[in-house]
């Protein structure tokens, strides 16, 4: 059943149920759906409605004081279905090595292994609308177009990603929750406080409200926080009625270790053969009925030997227009002149413009008249490696509460995202390994775009918008907010779902792992409730 807190609930309504799920994104919907047939009475509290609404979305606004970061009310969506309403659908499980404690990465290591999570990944595949749980490139040879490159598997391997249609959780699973006898999805219900009872170490109730001013309470036997990697710590930090540092924050870990996946096109491949067949990597559209693509990543052996974190490097074809040195030099000259000086390599730049004049003319035509002139502009120049990389955990990279307040009186988020030099250096070294192997195999030569380093990490930096690490998982409460069951260490009946529990984030999008962990948590809750 779906209810709307704005019209369906009188103010000061008190609700009692077995389980309260806060947030209806991929994690919250999965948990509610998994438990829908258990007979447990479940309330899902969703801040938004069924569609995007400006004033609800604006609740996400916050400030960013660290490394440049996208506006906090853009990277995620606050209505039923959460950010699956705009995700691209790329899925890949974390690798076994991602779960290990890696001696060269401080704060690494999960309290669970990949093999423990595998059965849940299998179930998560279906949720995400994917094929068989097989991410080994060899499995797909002959089933999709092309072949993997002949690379030494102990250096660089081909990895498969499966692409969700993408499943919009709020659309695809809405009916299941609507028809579930014991599930109520309460829309426009924003949780503003989690109240703990210090006498028994449990949450006694939550307070929630709607923008019109009505306020409500809900009391449950157990609670799941599933608001995303930024809102999860925000609500815990805000819930400081009993613990002044916030709920679950006795060791000052809530909000710390914020991570994303930086995406950087920091290297290119010039193939030896301009007709190099990369259809296996999704460069062509001949994948048949499967939606897959593939990328290159480093082998575990290399990561251990070289003490690196991994990258995912897909081949992105770049045409002559995109790659034009003449256009780039033209802009260098124009930008320098606009600042009243000459570019440092004036004659070289002029030479570039002269030799690449057709592309400069093409650029002018496109810009001034919206017309394409030369078909040669679309010829392949090279492949770019639009690389998603793992960010190493850093306690100084964190979510805290700012001084501004939202319409509910909750303090808005202050994000201090930090990227370390070692994260940047890691990328170059990974490219070197990639370049060596592609050179050895005669595939081509790799160029590292070090000359653009500043821009790569600022103006040209892209983001996965994957918010991870802020309520990290550890068996030891000194090092983690939640335990291996995703229960907040210091609170007996409060659980956290979503990528905020990831101690490390790997180099792949998190949704499949979020859903796998949500299924696992749902199974755990079945045992807790003995249903």
């Amino acid at each position: 059943m779906f209810l709307d807190a704005r019209g369906d609930l009188p103010s000061d309504t008190r609700i009692e149920c077995d389980l309260c799920v806060m947030g209806a994104g991929a994690a919250g919907i999965t948990i509610a759906r998994e438990l829908a047939s258990t007979g447990l009475s479940i309330y899902v509290l969703e801040s938004g409605g069924l569609e995007f609404e400006d004033e609800i979305q604006a609740l996400y606004k916050g400030t960013s004081i660290g490394h440049e970061y996208p506006a906090l009310d853009i990277a995620r969506l606050r209505f039923f279905g959460g950010s699956t309403n705009h995700w691209e659908g790329s899925c890949h499980p974390l690798e076994a090595v991602d779960f290990e404690r890696r001696s060269w990465i401080a704060h690494s290591g999960w309290p669970i292994t990949r093999s423990q999570l595998d059965p849940f990944y299998v179930r998560a595949q279906k949720y995400c609308g994917l094929g068989p749980f097989d991410y080994d490139a060899a499995h797909w040879v002959g089933k999709i177009a092309g072949k993997p490159l002949p690379l030494r598997a102990d250096r660089v391997r081909t990895a498969i990603s499966q692409l969700s249609p993408p499943v919009r959780f709020g659309i695809d699973y809405r009916q299941d929750l609507e028809t579930a006898a014991h599930v109520v999805v309460l829309l426009h219900a924003t949780v503003v406080d989690i109240i703990a009872d210090p006498s028994n170490g449990q949450v006694s109730h939550v307070r929630f409200g709607e923008l019109g001013g009505k306020r409500f309470t809900l009391s449950a036997r157990a609670y799941v926080l599933a608001l995303g990697g930024i809102e999860n710590p925000r609500l815990l930090l805000s819930s400081n009625g009993v613990h002044p540092n916030g709920l679950g924050n006795q060791n000052d870990l809530v909000g710390r270790f914020f991570m994303d996946h930086p995406v950087v096109e920091g290297a290119i491949l010039k193939p030896s053969d301009p007709k190099l067949d990369l259809s296996f990597y999704g460069v062509s559209d001949t994948q048949g009925s499967y939606r897959l693509n593939a990328h290159l990543e480093l082998a575990d052996e290399v990561l251990r030997q070289e003490q690196l974190v991994n990258i995912g490097a897909p081949f992105i074809p770049r045409d002559r227009y995109y790659a034009s040195p003449g256009i780039e030099s033209y802009h260098d000259i124009a930008n320098a002149l606009a600042k009243g000086r000459l570019p440092p390599h004036l004659w070289g730049d002029i030479g570039d413009v002269a030799r690449d004049f057709d592309m400069v003319v093409e650029a002018s035509s496109r810009r001034l008249f919206g017309r394409r002139l030369f078909s040669s502009a679309e010829e392949l120049a090279y492949f770019g490696f639009d690389t998603m990389t793992e960010q190493t955990p850093n306690p100084e990279s964190r979510v805290t509460l700012g001084d501004e307040r939202d319409p509910f009186g909750m303090r808005r988020v202050k994000l201090d995202w930090r990227l370390s030099n070692s994260d940047k250096e890691n990328l170059w070294r990974c490219y070197e390994v990639l370049g060596a192997e592609l050179g050895r195999a005669g595939i081509g030569r790799v160029r590292l775009l070090r000359d653009r380093e500043d821009a790569l990490w600022t103006t040209r930096l892209s983001y996965g918008d994957h918010h991870m690490g802020t309520t990290r998982m550890s068996e030891d409460p000194r090092f983690g907010v939640v335990d291996a069951d995703c229960r907040v260490h210091s609170v007996l009946n409060l659980y956290v779902a979503g990528s905020s529990v990831f101690p490390t984030g790997g180099h792949v999008p998190p949704t499949l792992t979020i859903v796998a962990l949500a299924i696992r948590l749902a199974d755990h809750l079945k045992s807790v409730f003995a249903v």
């Binding site: 030896s272 060596a436 030569r445 160029r447 590292l448 000359d451």
Partner: protein
């Protein structure tokens, strides 16, 4: 030394796009017992090779010695294949194969050089440098060439 954006991109395109997939895609046009000549004759795209060679020499000026460079390359090539350089026994095809093998071995063992961001095998960069030195010497002493 900064190579112009255009020159280097073009160089790489020309060098690497030749049939066979390596710098040395074309056959030698003549046989000679001169090591430097035989190896540099394998180069198909000379303009690009010159750009790489010049960048290499600017970065490693102590390598600007034609004889020494020839010897180093010959050693690398010899250790990588069956080639016997400097004699009449080796065919251009075998020499090409040996050079390729030396390049593969460079990448395998991490003997790489980064020039203007390009990750190149030491051997291929040195051969380009050899071309530059050789042409320079020929221009300086055309009668001796």
């Amino acid at each position: 030394m900064r190579i112009s954006k255009r020159t280097f991109l073009r160089s790489a395109l020309a060098l690497l796009a030749v049939p066979g997939g390596t710098l040395f895609g074309l056959w030698a046009t003549g046989e000679t017992s001169d090591v430097a000549a035989r190896i540099t004759d394998l180069i198909g795209a000379r303009a690009g090779a010159r750009a790489i060679g010049a960048a290499f020499l600017a970065r490693f000026p102590t390598e600007a010695d034609q004889k020494q460079l020839s010897r180093r390359i010959a050693q690398l090539v010899r250790s990588s294949g069956e080639a016997r350089l400097g004699g009449e026994a080796i065919s251009s095809r075998a020499l090409q194969r040996a050079v390729r093998q030396a390049i593969t071995s460079d990448f395998e063992t991490g003997r790489m050089i980064e020039l203007d961001g390009w990750l190149l095998a030491q051997t291929e960069a040195r051969i380009c440098a050899l071309l530059v030195l050789r042409e320079h010497a020929m221009r300086a002493a055309p009668l001796a060439a």
